[in-house]
Structures are given as C-alpha cells and as structure tokens.
C-alpha cells in the first residue's frame, strides 16, 4: 500500500514540477533584477525656465545654440508696431562637458555685453536605488559690458565687469508640474551712484506646467532684497509658452526685462510690467550632437 502510495506521489511530483518550472521562467528573470536609478528627466524643456537658468544642462558632448530675442515695449503703440520695430538679441553657445558640467559663452546687444558661465549639477533628482527629492545646480557667471565709455571718462577695465553666483533648486512634482527656487547674488563692479548697491540678493521662483508631451507654460519671478536709489527698477517677471519639437525648443514669452543675461535682468530690469513695459520675446534653442 505504502509502496503504491509513494509511486503515485512520485508521479505527482513530476506532474507538478513541470508546470512549476514553466511558470517560473519569467519569475526567474524578475528576481535579482538589478534596480536602476530613475533620474527625473525633462524637469524643464531646456536650459532656461524663461529668462533665468533652469537646472537642465546640455547632455555631455551636446552643443546648444540659443538665439534669444526681445522686441521693444508693447506700450509704445502703433507707430513702433507695439515694439516689433526694435530688437535686443543675445546669441549663446552652451556645451555639455560631462553629465554634470556645462560651460557657455554669449554676447548680447544690450550694452554690448559678453557673458560666460559654468553650471554644475550637484544633485540630480532621482528615485529607485537612491531617493533624492530635488535637483540642485550651481551657477557662476561673469559679464563684460563692452559699450564704449563716454568721451574723456577715466573708467578702467574692471568697471566693465559684473558677476552672478546662483543656486538652482528644482523639483519635478509630476510629469506636468516642475518648480524651481533660484537664490542669487549679483555683484556689479560699477554702479551709477554711491547710493546704489553694488550687491543684490535675489530669490527667483519659476515653474512649468507641461500640458502636453511637447508643450508647456512657464512662469518666472525674481524678488530683489535691494533696490537702487538713483533710478527706477523692478523685479523681473516673465510668462511664456515652451514648444519642444525634438531638436529645437521654442520659448515665446512676455517679460518686463529687456536684457537676457543674468546680471542684467536680475538687478537691472527697467520695465514696469503693470504699466505695459512688456517685451515680447523668444528663445530658439537648437541642439547639435558633437560626439
């Protein structure tokens, strides 16, 4: 009886084990699968929120060419075609040295300013292997105003320089919503009068609502803790639409800042948005893969 039973059971073993093994083939692949870090991608469509820097860098080996354009003020009326007769432009190149480091040079028509900056991704937002809830990038820029000095003045070269140090702290809350805080410190080697501060501390706030895979709406505001005494300036504000076409990103926006470089729009925004000093502008960003 027992011998019979063990034969039956042995038979059952074979019957049971075959399907067990079959079912487990996919299970075998899933177990001990190496977990991969899941980095937040596309927190912003490109390296700018609008006027200001975003935490995004060019990929290593990629060269980004940015054409930035601000027309004149909307409130100039029909004679100036609401500002379209005038233009301020910046041409810039940004290069991804590594997956963390980017370098850039640019030239703006505004006060004939040359700029250069480096941007370093200290922390990348990620989940999976490690959980890092925010991205943190550091930025350091130098600005050279090359506009000719007035006849007979005795300014030196160093008076042409301004500097900006800033940190970008961003979080992609969902695929749709990304927010960024940007504390910044602006230093000017030369200011109009002794009453005007040479140093400005600024807190920037920016965000993007990505309403489709390829498009979003962005907002940006920079609050200054100091203001110059001798002339009127305002906090920089911008609102815009971002369109990603794959190789190009188009950013169309309205802002009260005429300059498109950091030392300019952070501390030297002359337009009063509420009074109609609004510049229509755009950035066209084109990525070239060099390696």
């Amino acid at each position: 009886m027992n011998i019979f039973l063990s034969h039956v059971l042995a038979g059952l073993c074979l019957l049971l084990s075959a399907p067990l093994a079959a079912q487990d083939l996919m299970g075998m692949l899933e177990q001990d699968e190496e977990e991969q870090p899941e980095y937040a991608v596309n927190t912003f469509f490109t390296t700018r929120v609008i006027n200001g820097q975003s935490i995004e860098n060019p990929y290593p080996g990629d060269l980004i060419f940015i054409i930035s354009h601000h027309f004149g003020r909307l409130n100039q009326g029909a004679y100036e075609l609401w500002g379209l007769d005038q233009a301020t432009i910046r041409l810039g190149l940004e290069y991804g040295v590594s997956d963390r480091l980017a370098v850039s040079v640019g030239r703006s028509s505004y006060e004939k300013t040359f700029d250069g900056f480096i941007k370093y991704k200290l922390l990348r937002q990620q989940s999976g292997v490690r959980n890092v809830p925010v991205a943190l990038s550091l930025f350091s820029g130098a600005y050279l105003k090359s506009l000719k000095w007035p006849e007979g003045s005795d300014f030196e070269f160093r008076h042409r320089m301004s500097y900006v140090q800033q940190a970008m702290i961003a979080r992609q809350f969902s695929r749709q919503v990304s927010l960024q805080l940007t504390p910044a410190w602006v230093h000017h080697n030369l200011v109009p009068t002794t009453d005007d501060p040479a140093d400005y501390f600024v807190l920037g706030m920016g965000g993007r609502w990505r309403f489709s895979d390829w498009a979003g709406i962005s907002l940006e505001y920079f609050y200054r803790f100091q203001e110059p005494e001798s002339y009127d300036t305002y906090n920089s504000f911008a609102v815009g639409v971002d369109l990603d076409t794959g190789g190009h990103v188009f950013q169309l926006h309205f802002t009260n800042s005429q300059p498109m470089f950091e030392s300019g729009f952070l501390s030297d925004t002359r337009g009063d948005f509420l009074d109609g000093d609004i510049y229509f502008g755009f950035h066209i960003t084109r990525t070239f893969t060099l390696r």
Binding site: N2, L5, S6, L9, A10, L12, C13, L14, L16, S17, A18, L20, A21, A22, D24, L25, M26, M28, L29, E30, E33, E34, Q36, E38, V41, N42, Y59, P60, G61, D62, R175, D213, W214, T245, G246, G247, T287, T289
Partner: protein
C-alpha cells in the same frame, strides 16, 4: 512510513524542477532596433536583456528595461523614454512564449537550426501575439539565440507626431541576440 513517503513527496516537488528543468539563462542579452526614414536612420541598443529558455519544453521568455536603450544622441534617448515609450509608466518590455521545432539532440550537434518563436510581446502594456523565425545554435555549452522581426510602434500605443514622419519609420526592425548559459 507515511511520514517518510510525504517527505519524499515534498523533496521531490522541491528538487525535480532543479533536476529536470533544463533552463538556460542570460542577464546581458542584446536587443537592437533600427528605424530607417527619409531624413535619418535611428539605431539603439539595449545590452541588459534578461532571457531564459527551457529546452525541455521550448518555453522562452525575455524581459528588458526600456531605459537601457542607448542611442547615438542623448536627446533622442530622452525623447524615446519620456515621450514615446513612457518608461516612467512602462519601465519594461517582455516576451513570453515558446520556441517550436527543435529537439535537444539537434542543438547538441552544434549546427545552427531554424526555429519558430511564438508568443506574446508586451510593450507599453500592450500585448500582441507574434510568430517569428529565429535561429538557435550551441557553442561552448551555451545556446546562442537570435531573431529579427519587425514591429509597428502604433500597434503598441507608441504615438509618433506626424512631424516625425521623415525621422521615424512606421516599421521598426528589431534584432534579438542572446547567449544563454546553464550556469544559473
């Protein structure tokens, strides 16, 4: 005696899969795809394909993380993951099926044999039955398996905006190459 028999039974169930299931496996198989369009050709390679074959019954599976497709251009890789296959929602693709038309003895001869692979391919949570030709060959105790087939992105809910018609083909060629080994 009954207890002893039960013990044999339990041990039997536990051990027989190990003893009898002839499973060959890899963690670093390759899946490459190629898109040929009028403006550009796009190619991407994934070297983190896990795959297993049970040579007893021909059952064959593979599974791959979509993020591991490496493109020539990083921006393409970003768009592939972020906009097209939505890797954040559907991190893996997989295939479950079987390989018909081979016997273990054929394999052991070392000759390359033509086989049919039939099963279900899942990309972006869309599962489709496919039947494709492939080859198997034994080399140094490993089984080399390869197959080439064509998939249409739209069938797997991969929506490609019309402006990419000249950049991305509507039919993508897929090349599977795995070296399966029985060292588990």
């Amino acid at each position: 005696m009954l207890r002893k028999t039960l013990l044999v039974f339990v041990l039997g169930v536990l051990i027989t899969p190990v003893l009898f299931a002839q499973v060959y496996l890899t963690r670093n198989g390759t899946i490459r795809f190629f898109s040929e369009a009028s403006l550009e050709n796009i190619e991407a390679t994934n070297r983190q394909v896990s795959s297993a074959l049970n040579i007893e019954n021909g059952e064959f599976v593979f599974r791959l993380p979509m993020r591991s497709f490496a493109f020539e251009k990083a921006l393409m890789q970003e768009h592939f993951n972020d906009n097209f296959v939505e890797s954040h929602k559907y991190p893996n693709a997989s295939f479950e099926g079987e390989i018909h038309g081979f016997r273990e003895a054929d394999l052991l001869s070392g000759e390359e044999i033509e086989v049919m692979v039939e099963g279900e391919l899942t990309i972006k949570d869309v599962t489709k039955g496919i039947t494709e030709r492939g080859t198997l060959r034994m080399e140094d105790g490993d089984i080399l398996g390869s197959a080439v087939f064509v998939i249409k992105p739209e069938e797997y809910n991969i929506r490609i905006p019309t402006r990419y018609v000249r950049n991305i083909a509507s039919e993508i060629e897929v090349f599977v190459d795995v070296r399966l080994s029985d060292k588990l």
